[in-house]
Symmetry: C2
Subunit: 337 residues, 2 copies
């Protein structure tokens, strides 16, 4: 068993500092599940984390996996050897860029059965992020009737998180407005359920006008929050709610929120790991629901590209593609070990 | 009938630019109520608005009143001549620094009967602001059982809004932590229901430690948001919610919200006037509930000082007291006309 690791943070322009490292099967704690990883999803958070300080090198990145259970801790009752599971994991433990991974059962659910392993690997992080934002941040009802007439603007609707947020928001009855610019990504976003796809090459205020949209209840930003900060404030309703998953590069004027009593949330999916353990089983609950709705045919896979083989080269190439914004939907790597 | 008005924005250091102006009874629209004002409440928003541009001079400030109905528009059925009503009003119409005022019925409720008129005048703006923040921003349940174990930190608990927020949060079952510094204001805050009063002369992080408080679910800032921005972020729980009613003087780093997925709202009570008319009756509903709970003896008056007579001098003096932070609870002016 091996992982792709790095000993220090680096920029891609410095060359490929990832390397392959063998490891032994670790001891399992009572609630741990030991997984033979079959496919991993790649996310922008990989590229951001790669450039942050490493406290205990080497570091294994990777926040999406599907795999087969090989062993379980003494208190695990929900999973047994041979089960296929999927998970995102947490930011502060060894990641999924590996042939095998240990994960606490709170973070895991049974993978959907009617999609391929590669397709399943594309779901966890984006689904968890979108679910938290919609149901906990925006407090959207799970009763579709309650959401009738409510609308959400998803900035960068064709991205990984945007693709899942679109599907979930649509399923729960919201009017979904997304942004994209290329024909390919516009079509993609529509195919996932977007009612209206705006062109984010134009000022979104003008796009709203030309589509006769006055304002929206919710804005979910998955791309360049600084660029969209004032636009989002202009487009959300009085007492509306804006959330972002993209860190700012500059300070902002919070007084702009005042006239309309706007609420702003900086959503971060790994926050829950700071909370008590009971609460961390919420990851399991979300993933179980997602898995169920994939099996029901409600949510479609968002994977658009599969790389074959967990290698130093492929991990580096995947980071390049993400940093160059070459990916819509999700890029996954099939482990092939 | 007369009002205290000004023709231009001014600072107190420029001298008293308020003057008395007589006016005639205006035409009433269908849903308007014409009120003989008996007592007015003074608020920090008066001092802030005094310094803003006047589009159509002269301007009548004043955002709290209790008075007796003298006449009603043709479609008003809930109020009749002789009814005692109270209201805050809205920011964009003539205010309550006057012997008579026209107000749309959506903004009005019957005043409580078991407190004096001066005491009743202290409630509307602070109650509405506190109610919106607790029930709409923080989404606090009206079922006390749901709030068991939940906690709120109210910064400047002895201020006007802080005094009402304390009473309402306590009534609905939250653990209420406030801040104050003088013995008098500490006692005041305790008398309104604060479970713990911290000394805001000290770093609130240290105050939390010395009272064995780990963190709180909600933080409501009613004083100097810039000063408390980072402290509030440190003291709120992961996925917690911070609200302020005090504008910032500087830009802030919104990335500080990320690690704990914190939600931030800039609450502004007059925002609702931007929304559709149906929604504006929410002011009426809040005030009716407040009036009911005052009559039930649940909420105590927060008035600590009464000035006698609606005069140019008294309005100016009241602005001075507010700007010098000499008031805890509420200052009201009895109209005496």
């Amino acid at each position: 068993m091996y992982a792709i690791v790095a000993d220090e943070p680096f920029k891609l322009s410095e060359g490929n500092k990832f390397y392959k490292k063998d490891f032994e099967k670790p001891e399992l704690n009572d609630k741990d599940v030991f997984v033979k990883v079959k496919s991993i999803g790649m996310n922008p958070v990989d590229t951001k984390t790669r450039q942050t300080e490493i406290k205990h090198p080497p570091r294994i990145l990777g926040y999406d996996a599907v795999g087969v259970v090989e062993d379980v801790g003494s208190e695990v009752t929900s999973y047994k050897k041979g089960d296929v599971v999927f998970y995102s994991g947490r930011a502060d433990v060894d990641g999924s860029n590996a042939t095998h991974q240990v994960m606490h059962e709170a973070y895991i659910a049974h993978a959907p059965k009617n999609v391929s392993l590669n397709e399943a690997a594309g779901f966890p992080l984006t689904s968890l992020t979108a679910s938290e934002t919609l149901f906990e941040v925006f407090n959207i009802s799970k009763n579709k009737e309650d959401n009738k007439g409510k609308s959400i603007l998803i900035i960068n609707g064709a991205g990984g998180v945007g693709s899942m947020a679109t599907q979930i928001a649509k399923h729960y009855g919201l009017t979904v407005i997304t942004t994209a610019s290329k024909d390919e990504t516009k079509e993609w976003s529509k195919s996932l359920g977007a009612d209206i796809v705006l062109n984010h090459k134009n000022d979104l205020r003008d796009e709203f006008k030309s589509h006769n949209i006055e304002n929206v209840d919710y804005v979910f930003c998955t791309f360049d929050t600084d660029l969209y900060y004032e636009v989002m404030i202009d487009l959300v309703k009085p007492r509306g709610h804006i959330a972002t998953i993209v860190a700012f590069t500059e300070k902002q004027d919070l007084n702009l929120l005042k006239a309309k009593s706007i609420t702003f949330t900086h959503e971060f999916m790994f926050t829950r790991a700071l909370q008590d353990l009971d609460d961390q089983y919420q990851y399991h609950r979300y993933l179980s629901e997602i898995s169920h709705l994939i099996n029901e045919g409600v949510y479609k896979p968002t994977v658009t590209e599969v790389m074959k083989g967990l290698s130093v080269d492929n991990i580096f190439k995947a980071h390049e593609k993400l940093e160059n914004h070459e990916v819509h939907g999700k890029l996954v790597i099939e482990v092939e070990e």
